[in-house]
Homo-oligomer: 161 residues x 4
Amino acid sequence: MIIGVIGAGEPTPEIYSLAETVGEELGKRGVTLVCGGLGGVMEAACRGAKKAGGTTIGVLPGNDKSSANPWVDVTIPTGMGHSRNVIIVKTAEVIIAVGGAYGTLSEIGHSLAEQVPVVGLKTWEIFREGQKDKSITIAESPSDAVEKAMNMLNESNIVKK
Amino acid sequence: MIIGVIGAGEPTPEIYSLAETVGEELGKRGVTLVCGGLGGVMEAACRGAKKAGGTTIGVLPGNDKSSANPWVDVTIPTGMGHSRNVIIVKTAEVIIAVGGAYGTLSEIGHSLAEQVPVVGLKTWEIFREGQKDKSITIAESPSDAVEKAMNMLNESNIVKK
Amino acid sequence: MIIGVIGAGEPTPEIYSLAETVGEELGKRGVTLVCGGLGGVMEAACRGAKKAGGTTIGVLPGNDKSSANPWVDVTIPTGMGHSRNVIIVKTAEVIIAVGGAYGTLSEIGHSLAEQVPVVGLKTWEIFREGQKDKSITIAESPSDAVEKAMNMLNESNIVKK
Amino acid sequence: MIIGVIGAGEPTPEIYSLAETVGEELGKRGVTLVCGGLGGVMEAACRGAKKAGGTTIGVLPGNDKSSANPWVDVTIPTGMGHSRNVIIVKTAEVIIAVGGAYGTLSEIGHSLAEQVPVVGLKTWEIFREGQKDKSITIAESPSDAVEKAMNMLNESNIVKK
């Protein structure tokens, strides 16, 4: 079971804290976390996951392994810049977006295009023709986000069987 | 001068027609058009551009050049799936989004992350913390979209000089 | 410590067996193995590594996690075809090439270009202007290949410190 | 008709001159040239092509269009580093390798893996199990290289029809 956590490299302290709790909740449940491997939300989520004994994968945009945050277990340097966002999305079975800047928006787009479900915590809302697109499942708290992601993951595994 | 046109592979007839006019307006102005090279909005824009004597580049997700629409002049097969969206954005100096599905949303995110300006015609609207993000410049018509894109392109070239 | 094992998807039984022993020797030494995740040499190396209690990463060319061989622990689907070869090379600190087809030749080229050392076991030999290029360190057996790779890895880590 | 020219970024003056003549011969025949867009062999080939009125495409490893040599007509910045080598190979119908360093070796490997024919002029020779692999067609001069590439291109187009 792998869940992706996406979000900005320079979040507010509130968002950093939410992402850390998301990581911790994932670690407690034995879910592997995949993310972009850098700072901010990525760092917070990895830190939380390691605190709870979880496993973390960081898919880096650059070439330098030392750019990964210290809580990444498996470091994948791609040297591909933002093209690596697609790899994060494909590696995850469900995505949790916490806050987020434009890179996060691109990842939400890739996830929905690839039919990887997205749970959003204080993240982007998207509208088409004046109507809200409800593909992003809204969560109220880190534990709610992880609960919803786990349910989606279990449903998707039942469908596969 | 290169402008990117992004949008869905299976648009409504109205959106197809808008994209064709966008392409035509670009062709008239001697601007090269870059897009994803496939059908729908991509095809419509290329078709319009060629009608007006323009030049078109198609950056394909797959390996097969014959998947390009017949109005693509320069075909770049990448074999990289949606990772190629980043290449479209980097090749363009300004992006015009016409309608659009989730792939288009990913391209809007990549454009804004890479500081490539985006003009939107009946496309996604994006909100953060209940506030509309105004980075997407709204256009009212194909000619308005192209006018706005040309102005951005000229401003950006003045800054560079 | 991560070592990459590269080689053909459809090797001879002899090469398959050599790759399995390479994997086993890596697993015994607690080295993580990264490879392309598919069959043939990739499968053999992962199988050997798991037999010895090692950890394996498979960076897949396609989108489908189920195309990974059963001995891959961490599956990274890229959807990028052979462009993923570069990611394998960047993830590894040293590469061991066992036999190999043209895809392996591309990976040897990428490794040497990125200054990732290459050990070769019954693999390509390369010549320029009638002279053999000695950048590929030749190994006589799986254990010799792993010994040489471990030495390179230790030297490179000393340099970094 | 598109032919790729690959080779080192820092060639000897002799190789630079050969690549320029290859570009010129391609331009005379109205063949579009695709390359990596940077200096050295890439620059020489584009320069030759433009001298003869040809068209050139440069698929850059970086993000910055200004890193393209001045003889590139269509600039595609990928931001993907050496992963862009695969795109050059897929865009070409035949590849001509002139001299070359390790990046060129990776491109030869990708070409042969993707069944894109390779003509070599003073480039790598590759051996497997002590036997020379004859997949690289050896040329004696720039015009010989272009003649051989044109023949391959015509044969491949006949097969497709």
